[in-house]
């Protein structure tokens, strides 16, 4: 059991490796009966020892890397962002609804009816959702919730339904999705299909996702990789757009930098061109411009205000 690791662990850098050391004050011991005893003649005092325990994911290295240098969107355009406590996460393996002799399917109107008060469909389903029904006698299969199909205790689907009353059945979502919390409310106004998004603040679904599609109502984000767990509303969650990397960049891709750093890259290219032409003076000029812009970008993040007290006998 590690404790006070900031005081009891140290590292050394050796080429490509991190050498970990534990700092202890002790001596070699052995157990005799139920007593731990210090071995006579052994050194007692401050020691550096190799790690003496297994710690799962115990070593955390934070570093800069060549991360996503080329992306599909300009940095300045990544404005889609939403926060709230009403988001719901749906996976494809957990039942949204499990009926026990209380589900009705009606061929007329292509309806799936739930008993009053059993489920609030306006929270659990959305128009355009692909659902998988199983466990029924005649209606097992995949259905699509029709536009305007989410009503209290009822779903209207686009596919043909066989009339069946008081049946048992399980309904799951065919795709992973993040729901806005209220059917028909355009919650995800600024998001688009193919956007890469990051979820922060959820109980078990923080991570990056790619939006596959957005229903016409804008009340859900259908994501390409299903959330890892079903999650009800309640957590304070922020969802925001992040750059989508393009591993095979071409001229149409954006550089994953803000505008000032992109301008510094222009200077870097000019410097390299000058270098190729043997114009060292010009190269040095553009490299200075490059570092100047990189420095400006850093100083833009560090705003310092200074306050001076007025001297008590100051004459104005």
């Amino acid at each position: 059991m590690s404790y006070d690791t900031h005081k009891t662990w140290l590292y050394r850098l050796e080429g490509r490796y991190i050498h970990l050391w534990q700092y202890i004050q002790g001596a070699a011991t052995t157990t005799l009966g139920d007593y731990k005893i210090r071995l006579p003649g052994e050194y007692y005092g401050n020691q550096l020892i190799y790690p003496n325990e297994d710690i799962t994911d115990g070593l955390r290295v934070e570093y800069t890397a060549l991360i996503e240098p080329f992306v599909g969107d300009a940095w300045e355009d990544l404005t889609a962002r939403i926060s709230g406590t009403s988001f719901i996460f749906q996976d494809t393996s957990t039942a949204i609804y499990t009926g026990s002799s209380n589900l009705d399917f009606a061929a007329t109107g292509k309806r799936i009816n739930f008993e009053s008060g059993e489920i609030d469909t306006s929270i659990a389903f959305y128009d355009g959702q692909s659902i998988v029904v199983s466990g029924t006698s005649s209606n097992n299969g995949t259905f699509t919730v029709a536009g305007g199909g989410v009503n209290t205790n009822q779903l209207i689907v686009t596919e043909t339904v066989v009339t069946e009353a008081n049946t048992s059945g399980v309904i799951k979502s065919a795709t992973g999705a993040i729901l806005g919390g209220t059917a028909g409310t355009n919650t995800f106004t600024d998001f688009l299909a193919a956007d890469k998004i990051r979820v922060n603040g959820s109980a078990s679904n923080d991570g990056d996702y790619t939006v596959s599609s957005i229903p016409s109502n804008g009340d859900a984000l259908v994501v390409s990789s299903a959330p890892s767990a079903v999650e009800a509303a309640g957590e304070s969650i922020t969802i925001y757009q992040i750059p989508a990397e393009d591993a095979t960049p071409d001229e149409t891709n954006h550089v994953n930098l803000n505008r000032l750093l992109s301008l510094s890259v222009v200077d870097y290219l000019k410097a390299q061109l000058a270098d190729m032409q043997g114009n060292v003076q010009m190269k040095e000029y553009y490299m200075r411009e490059f570092w100047k812009k990189v420095g400006d970008n850093e100083s833009n993040k560090r705003k310092i205000s200074m306050t001076f007290p007025t001297a008590p006998f100051a004459v104005r």
Partner: protein, 92 residues
Amino acid sequence: MTVQEIMERAGMKETSLSIAWIKDAFHLIQSNNKEHTKVQKSNIIDGIRKYPFPADMIALKSISVKDTTDSKYKKIRRLVGEPTVTEDTDPE
């Protein structure tokens, strides 16, 4: 800013060379600033001292070890001097 716009501003015509140089510039920026940071976690194993750096690392920001008593990663300090023990053949 698109690659094309950068190329036009710099007077470049070769796309692949431009992309290579843009990556170099990215590398230089990342070497000196923490523009994009990444985290890698690995298991600590009893008796093992050597752990490799992440292969894609440009610049190291911090090294932390998990304090299992309160489930927090705490930054550890760098050992400046070289320990007397160069290798422990019986670390247990």
